[in-house]
């Protein structure tokens, strides 16, 4: 690696082929999330997937309460910003009235596994033909980093300041595993956004989930582990490593319930 810097303030001359743009055109502007936050990456691959599946003018998102709530302003798809925890129920009402539209939720672990645990389980068992996206960072990021139902043992949060202790604070809940065990469910997977590879694998999971919905196969859930350096009290650069060590051990990545393979394309 030479010490010389390559100029990066304008497109190259002679012209190269642009293979990745700053952000998908469905992202309307800047977000104000923390440095190193994983949620904007999840948003990007979600919106890219909608574009790739040609769902842009055929989709409705239902967004819960968490830092990702501010995406409502910058995601160029129709959105119902719903009450904390209630996205799966709102999505149910929407999907039943608009069965031809791709309906998805965007929720955090606080939203889905704390406040709205019963909504997602009931919706899944009902076999509701919607896709839920869980952004799991193991904390209530938006309120400043308190313990959620997915905080792993030992993790320090504002309300488990000495680290989550099983006797005092109980055990974390792997909601995707619960959902995967239910009848009525078409597809469940857990991805992450800590590395380029995991981002791409996660994007494929999102695609598979939407494909299941479009095929009318029933409920789908993609859990995405996202970095929250602020809530974890770690530096932004350490986010992916902390995530791999602390969270991926408890929440292993991969498909938890696969849909019958019927795609020829990948």
């Amino acid at each position: 690696m030479t010490r010389e810097l390559i100029p990066t303030d304008r497109p190259p001359e002679p012209a190269g082929r642009k293979v990745a743009d700053f952000r998908p055109s469905l992202v309307l502007g800047e977000h104000s999330l923390c440095p190193g936050c994983g949620e904007p990456v999840a948003l990007r691959i979600l919106l890219e997937t909608l574009q790739e599946l040609d769902l842009v003018r055929k989709s409705i998102g239902v967004v819960g309460h968490g830092c990702y709530g501010s995406f409502v302003r910058i995601m160029d798809v129709e959105v119902l910003q719903c009450l904390h925890g209630r996205a799966p129920s709102c999505a149910t009402g929407i999907k039943r009235m608009r069965p031809d539209v791709g309906v998805f939720t965007l929720q955090g672990d606080g939203d889905m596994v704390n406040e709205g645990l019963q909504e997602v389980i009931h919706t899944a068992a009902r076999g509701e033909n919607v896709t839920c996206i869980l952004l799991n960072n193991g904390v209530f990021g938006d309120t400043g980093g308190q313990q959620t139902a997915t905080t792993v043992l030992g993790q320090r949060t504002k309300t488990s300041i000495e680290g989550r202790d099983a006797r005092q604070h109980g055990h974390p809940i792997a909601v995707a595993d619960i959902v995967a065990s239910l009848d009525g469910v078409a597809y469940v997977a857990r991805g992450a956004v800590g590395t380029a590879g995991s981002v791409m694998r996660t994007k494929k999971m999102i695609r598979t989930a939407f494909e299941a919905q479009l095929a009318g196969e029933g409920f789908s859930l993609v859990e995405i582990l996202t970095m929250c350096p602020t809530g974890w009290f770690v530096g932004a650069p350490q986010g992916p490593d902390y995530m791999a060590e602390a969270m991926e051990r408890v929440y292993p990545l991969g498909d938890l319930r696969s849909r019958p393979l019927r795609r020829g394309d990948d």
């Binding site: 055109s25 469905l26 309307l28 502007g29 800047e30 909608l50 769902l55 842009v56 003018r57 055929k58 989709s59 409705i60 239902v62 409502v72 302003r73 910058i74 995601m75 160029d76 798809v77 129709e78 959105v79 119902l80 910003q81 719903c82 009450l83 209630r86 129920s89 709102c90 999505a91 149910t92 009402g93 929407i94 039943r96 009235m97 608009r98 539209v101 791709g102 019963q118 909504e119 009931h122 009902r126």
Partner: protein, 363 residues
């Protein structure tokens, strides 16, 4: 003359209300059993799918009301319901729908009249109001049902039917027909999924932030706008009814089924020569304050009869012509099961209380 010629069908109140909702275009219903609301849920679970709609056995009230909110946000005529504790659980979402302006109808088939504050003051969060109609009998409930869907869409927000066990469970002959209430604004706010990628994709949000490329008013202005809307509704949607108030020296104020009993008793007393009249708010919110003030202008006594510890009383005190003329003659009265009215809802008892209070010196 037979039923065919009279056009009457003998129906349980809950079924009549359900059929009326379907006539009004209700296509989504989600509810959770709770007596006496259960009868409406059971009816809808059969009748709505048959009419091409969707009825979901919601797994809880919170899920039910949020499903209805989602359905309502697509522009569908949607409803839910419950009573008492179940409505309590729905308060957060009812407020949300009021503040993000999603139409839906909430059938509060209450167990008694103890939930007046719940219906009129909400208890959700923020500055919101819900148009609340309290029919006195089943034929009126059938009409109110359709009116509520209309008003919910006209003003974009949740509206409430405050019913009770008598309205839910009594059977009477009813006429069912679709009532027209006039033009409605276009449903251009409804989510249908088609505006993605436009830079102005639709959004339903109590904070009304809009999109980065098309900013909304934000909570400060939006909530002030909503408050102003409720002020307008308060002006235009008051409904009330009264009888014999012109020359009455005693006016009895009551609502819902109780008002039907009061009206019955007052008729009797009038026939016997007593100068008594009655006043009934039909909309509990907006409370028909000016009409009450007018109806009580000449009265020496304003008696409030409600089957609770005195809740509508708060509204009567704000508007009765002379506050010092008010006497409370209602009270808590509950069936031993806790699920229906107790013995105070009875014409002879009400008669006694009115006569006793009317006999007391005026101001």
């Amino acid at each position: 003359m037979t039923a065919e010629t009279t056009g009457l069908r003998l129906m349980e109140g809950a079924a009549a209300i359900g059929e009326s909702a379907i006539l009004a275009g209700c296509r989504f219903f989600a509810g959770y059993p709770m007596s006496p609301f259960t009868a409406l849920l059971e009816h809808m679970s059969k009748a709505l799918p048959a009419a091409g709609g969707v009825c979901i056995n919601a797994e809880s009230e919170i899920e039910g009301v949020n499903m209805a909110l989602g359905a309502g946000a697509t522009g569908a005529r949607a409803a839910t319901g419950s009573c008492g504790q179940g409505i309590a659980l729905m308060q957060e979402a009812i407020a949300e729908a009021a503040l993000n302006e999603t139409p839906m109808v909430v059938f509060n088939m209450a167990r008694n009249q103890q939930d007046y504050f719940q219906a009129t003051r909400g208890g959700g969060w923020g500055d919101y109001r819900t148009i609340t109609l309290a029919p006195k009998d089943i034929p009126e409930a059938v009409e109110h049902t359709q009116l509520l869907f209309h008003l919910a869409e006209l003003h974009r927000g949740p509206t409430i039917l405050y019913g009770d066990p008598l309205l839910a469970q009594t059977r009477v002959g009813v006429h069912l027909r679709r009532i027209e209430f006039g033009e409605l604004p276009p449903r251009d706010w409804a989510l249908d999924g088609t505006t993605g990628g436009s830079g102005h994709s639709r959004q339903v949000w109590t904070w009304a932030m809009g999109k980065a490329t098309d900013p909304g008013p934000g909570p400060d202005r939006h909530w002030r706008d909503v408050a102003a809307k409720f002020d307008r509704i308060a002006e235009t949607e008051q409904r009330s009814e009264s009888g014999y108030v012109e020359d009455a020296d005693t006016v009895v104020v009551s609502f819902g089924s109780a008002a039907k009993f009061v009206e019955y008793v007052v008729e009797e007393l009038r026939a016997e020569g007593h100068r008594i009249g009655w006043f009934r708010p039909i909309t509990l919110w907006p409370f028909p304050g000016p009409a009450l003030a007018a109806a009580t202008r000449g009265a020496r006594r304003v008696l409030v009869f409600e089957l609770n510890a005195g809740q509508m009383l708060d509204d009567v005190r704000q508007y009765a012509h002379d506050r010092s003329a008010i006497r409370f003659i209602g009270g808590v009265s509950i069936h031993e099961s806790g699920l229906a009215y107790g013995p105070l809802l009875d014409a002879p008892r009400i008669r006694e209380r009115i006569l006793a209070a009317a006999a007391e010196g005026g101001r």
